[in-house]
Amino acid sequence: MVEFLQFTLSGISFGMIYAAIALSLVLIWRGTRLLNFAQGGMAMFTTYIAIEVIYRTGSYWTGFAAALAAGVVLGAVAELAVIRPTLGKPELNAVIITIGLLVLLEGLAGILYGGQYRSFPAAFSVTGLRAGSTPLGVSRFDVFVALAVLAATLLLAIGFRYTSAGLRMRAAAFNATAARLSGIRVARVITLGWVLAGLLGALAGVLVSPSTFLYPDSMDSIFVLGFTAAVIGGLDSPVGAVVGGLLLGVVLSYAGGYLGSQGSDLTALVALVILVVVLMVRPAGIFSGARVRRV
């Protein structure tokens, strides 16, 4: 029973990271109908910036803020420089461009910061919390991770529903022509989407890097699982992203725990099974809305 609790809590903690990546992918999908393969790479790059700032100033929170700021800038730059020219062209082109961006960022990070592992500090203690004498399998830092991602999701949800900027984003995603006719600057809205995604990705990067160490390819496997979580939840739904992330994190944790070492080997296979099961029942993810009728 104790193990079950430990696996669950540990799964939630990893699942929140997948949720953060999934959220950023959902944001970009809703805004530009694109899959951003560079999301993990952007997160890695902003985390490197954070650690350089931390080294120089000695302050974790300054580095944290620097990462978020860098995420904003990187998101805007990527959208304006590289994605904007692809709108109107086949979507696969933009996907290839994001792949190119990913590769470019990984190579740049290798050149600027070297390929060795870097230890990234955690905001709070990583020593396990206990209930009495039983270790719970999570630390204060894990709790912070969960709360940070939840807060981000809530802010996004509120922003979408209750602010005019959110309304503009939803309108532009639904029907860009009509939005444009209503006076919405669709181009600006798209940039805003990428900026928010960059911010979320940066957050995910600083939250996960203590557990994975930082090196140019460190976000690759997190990205794959985050993408899976987004697909499971439905690419149009931010709530789906979080649910998908949690589901994935928890089930993978049980698989690793109860299936022994084979379960760890076969993490990707277990994720694939979950994905297939979900998509068989709901081909556009758990939280997909009413869809175009198909013959």
Binding site: W29, T32, R33, P85, T86, L87, K89, P90, E91, L92, N93, A94, V95, I96, I97, G100, L101, V103, L104, L105, E106, G107, L108, G110, I111, G114, G115, F160, R170, A172, A173, F174, N175, A176, T177, R180, V186, V224, F227, T228, A230, V231, L235, S237, Q262, L266, A268, L269, A271, L272, L275, L279, P283, A284, G289, A290, R291, V292, R294, V295
Partner: protein, 373 residues
């Protein structure tokens, strides 16, 4: 519709075959090895470009099919010692069956959902080899022994024979795919890609067409995997990373999605750019961490630039150049229409026919979903 006559295609293939033989004799062994590498890439990319370009299904997991083909080859050669041609056929058949299964599961998925499922397939399948090391050799993999046939004599270089075998398979694949593309099967694929509803109304069995595309694409990848096994003489999970699957898609799109010459251009790029960039970097005496990352930066930059400058890929650029010299351009194409479809942002609205893209170069737009936020 492009109506190429079979004699023309065969003639062209014959010309290429002769050129390959001549080059393989004139060039050094390492170039022969590169010819083999390029041929392997072409075989896999051609199948993928047909799947994604002609039938509109994005697959990020064809590396998994290559792995299946390679392991089938490795196991058959190790345990049964069959001649390679028989092994190749079996590898193609096994991956075809797997392709059918995957295609059936994926038949209802579109766009990014299909991409996500195939991405995970590409990541997950090679890890199975690690989980059952007794059968698959684990991390170390299976050794493959491949020698030149006796009738060529003792002194015939192995790399040249490998180049011939791989080129032969690649050419046969290209010819068969060209025929398939021109046939009714190809027309059905294009119809399903452009508008599923209309295709179904016209009597096309949508699911069967989509599954068949996966079968074809998977067997091409399976054969490429078999070739990879005999050329590198090892089958190990480390060779089938997700980077491989992504490189296949990249090659297909950069070369010109849906076009067979595009498969060749894309393969060339993917195989040669990293080597060329490495040579350039090391000859400038940069520190290791910088020099080893230059090819990576170069590769990323090339991807971005080619896509920005040639949105239809290299083959599109070639066509445009030829169009300059008097060939009439392809007629404009409607973007797929469905309720809620929007002209892309950033472009002047209203003109639905505004994108002058040749039919083959345009993958489908995912169907819009109604927003239920």
């Amino acid at each position: 519709m492009r109506a190429q006559s079979t004699p023309r295609v065969l003639g062209a293939a014959l010309v290429v075959a002769v050129v390959v033989v001549v080059l393989s004799i004139k060039l050094n062994s390492f170039r022969d090895y590169q010819i083999a590498e390029i041929a392997i890439e072409v075989t896999a990319v051609a199948g993928l470009t047909v799947l994604t370009g002609l039938s509109g299904q994005v697959s990020l997991g064809n590396g998994a099919f290559m792995a299946i083909g390679a392991y089938t080859t490795g196991l058959l050669l190790l345990h049964l010692g069959w001649p390679f041609i028989a092994v190749l056929v079996v590898a193609a058949a096994v991956t075809a069956v797997t392709g059918a299964v995957v295609g059936a599961a994926a038949a209802r998925l579109h766009g990014p959902y299909l991409a996500g499922a195939t991405l995970l397939l590409g990541v997950a399948l090679p890890s199975v080899a690690n989980a059952y090391p007794g059968v698959f050799g684990g991390d170390q993999g299976l050794n493959v022994v491949f020698t030149t046939p006796g009738f060529l004599g003792v002194n015939f270089p192995l790399t040249r024979w490998q180049a011939w075998v791989c080129s032969a398979v690649a050419l046969v694949t290209l010819v068969l795919l060209a025929n398939l593309s021109r046939s009714r099967v190809g027309r059905n694929w294009r119809a399903v890609r452009d508008d599923e509803v209309a295709a179904a109304l016209a009597g096309v069995n949508v699911a069967r067409a989509r599954i068949l595309a996966f079968v074809v694409s998977a067997s091409c990848a399976g054969m490429a995997g078999a070739l990879l096994a005999i050329v590198t003489e090892l089958v190990a999970p480390g060779a089938f990373t997700i980077t491989l699957s992504i490189a296949l898609l990249t090659a297909a799109v950069i070369g010109g999605l849906g076009t067979l010459p595009g498969a060749v251009w894309g393969s060339l790029l993917v195989v040669l750019v990293p080597t060329y960039a490495t040579d350039v970097a090391t000859s400038h005496g940069l520190s290791t961490s910088v020099a080893s990352n230059i090819p990576i930066v170069a590769y990323g930059a090339v991807l971005i630039l080619v896509m920005l400058v040639f949105p239809q890929g290299i083959q599109g650029g070639v066509r445009w150049l030829l169009g300059f010299s008097g060939v009439s351009p392809a007629r404009p194409r409607r973007t797929a229409s469905a309720p809620g479809a929007t002209p892309p942002a950033g472009q002047p609205p209203a003109l639905l026919d505004s994108s002058p893209l040749p039919r083959e170069g345009n993958p489908p737009q995912p169907h819009e979903k109604e927003d239920t936020q």
